[in-house]
């Protein structure tokens, strides 16, 4: 696999209520795609159970360049961190087709 390229994987875990807004933020900040799964969990803002719809979490993944990842992270921090249950982390990934991300 000589042709692999480095990108960033940004993972955001937050309230389901934000899905729509968050995804349109991601697109306008330059992400070429995203993947969402339903999740539940616990953090500083307590248990989020998913017993009924709006009480659950979503887990959003974006593979993108380092610059885009940082821009998204800063934006989310500024816009959502103070009022919403949200965590966010970044890791390094290799991709095969760099033009896609």
């Amino acid at each position: 696999m000589a042709t692999s390229h480095l990108r960033k994987l940004l993972t955001v875990i937050t309230e389901s209520a934000l899905e729509k807004d968050l995804c349109s933020d991601l697109e306008s900040l330059g992400a070429h795609g995203y993947t969402v799964t339903d999740a539940r969990g616990k953090g500083h803002r307590g248990v989020r159970e998913a017993a009924w719809d709006p009480s659950g979490n979503i887990r959003v993944e974006v593979v993108c360049t380092k610059e885009t990842a940082c821009a998204i992270a800063e934006h989310l921090k500024a816009k959502y961190y103070s009022n919403y249950a949200m965590i966010l982390y970044l890791s390094d990934v290799e991709v095969l087709r760099p033009e896609k991300f």
């Binding site: 309230e15 807004d21 307590g46 159970e49 017993a51 009924w52 719809d53 709006p54 103070s82 009022n83």
Partner: protein
């Protein structure tokens, strides 16, 4: 009869008979403490079952998809039923009532906000959000109240499902204005979209319109799902609501006495206002009871969703704990019969 395949006997047994037989049986067993329960509808017993199972931290959890399914059926059923009755009314005669009900929806949150700011010493956003929750309505409570009235053979204006739709929205608008003021740039277009095209309104209003267009015989073929199993669906829904209400108990301990008191006193006061309006509007005792219940109920679906996006700095735990952990159980277990008694006593001349 010894099987599961057929409905239980006596489809036409009068409810009074029913209660008499039950009392009789319980007396024979001489289980005195149960006697107070003789007026408990099975749907209420299912709510209690969920509540106890939740408080005892049972494993019992219904998948979210089931909760969705049950609430979709409930919303459409209520809408359909209301629409069918609406089709029997002349629309003109209702415009006056509709205006008054809308006015109630704008007034309630305006009354509650100063109380929350001054007595509750809550931050602006939190006070506005709580006011919006209690100014709006809970469809589950409305369903429980209709079922209670039906079980007690109290007739009511079936078209009141229309009032549920009307009462759902104004409090949201008022709540956002209270939190943000008029000056700041709230994205009203996006918000209106969010509110009017939310699941609750679409299904309730959609059901109303379908019922209204189709009329009584038109909806009959789909009645098996939306009317035939309605009360069973309500029982399961309340079981789930019991579990959800119990899950709020932890928060309740945290946020203290104020929420508990607010969650009980507010519905009492609002019921009086709503009931009085109903009487002024010339509703029947059943109708007065229902309007009182609507005023007394607090939203836990449409308003939380709207507030989370429009007033995110309001702490959602506060309003959900009060609405789901205190007011919903209070209304379902104590409030509904109380509001009926109130209607009979004050307006039953």
């Amino acid at each position: 009869m010894n099987g599961f395949g057929h409905p239980v006997q006596a489809q036409n047994g009068a409810p009074d008979e029913n209660r008499r037989v039950k009392k009789h049986f319980l007396q024979n067993l001489s289980l005195k403490p149960l006697k107070t329960m003789t007026t408990l509808d099975p749907v209420i017993l299912f709510f209690l079952l969920g509540l106890f199972a939740g408080l005892l931290r049972s494993e019992l959890r219904l998948p979210p998809a089931i909760y969705e399914f049950l609430s979709v059926i409930l919303l459409i059923s209520i809408g359909l039923k209301g629409g069918v009755e609406l089709s029997k009314q002349s629309f003109g005669s209702l415009v006056g009532q509709m205006g008054l009900v809308l006015a109630l929806g704008f007034t309630l949150p305006l009354l509650l906000y100063p109380v929350l700011r001054l007595l509750g010493k809550l931050a602006r956003a939190d006070a506005a959000s709580l006011a919006a929750h209690y100014g709006s309505v809970s469809v589950g409570t409305f369903a429980a109240a209709s079922a209670w009235l039906t079980a007690h053979s109290v007739p009511f204006e079936e078209y009141m499902a229309l009032f549920v739709v009307l009462l759902e929205v104004p409090a949201i608008v008022v709540g956002i204005l209270l939190a943000r003021g008029v000056s700041r740039e709230t994205r009203w277009g996006k918000l209106a979209h969010e509110i009017f095209l939310g699941k609750g309104i679409v299904l309730l209003a959609g059901g109303l319109i379908v019922g209204w267009i189709s009329g009584p015989q038109g909806v009959e073929p789909i009645g098996g799902l939306f009317f035939g199993i309605f009360k069973g669906v309500l029982a399961l829904f309340l079981l789930e609501m019991g579990l959800i209400a119990a899950a709020q108990a932890g928060n309740l301990r945290k946020h203290g006495l104020f929420l508990a008191l607010f969650g009980i006193i507010t519905p009492l006061v609002c019921a009086l206002i709503g009931g009085s309006l109903g009487a002024a509007m010339g509703l029947s005792i059943g109708g007065i009871t229902l309007l009182a219940t609507l005023a007394a109920s607090a939203s836990y679906i449409a308003v939380p969703a709207a507030m989370r996006l429009a007033v995110p700095e309001a702490n959602p735990a506060l309003s959900l704990t009060a609405a789901l952990g205190v007011t919903f159980p209070f209304n379902v277990l104590v409030g509904i019969p109380l509001y009926h008694r109130m209607a009979v006593t004050l307006f039953g001349g």
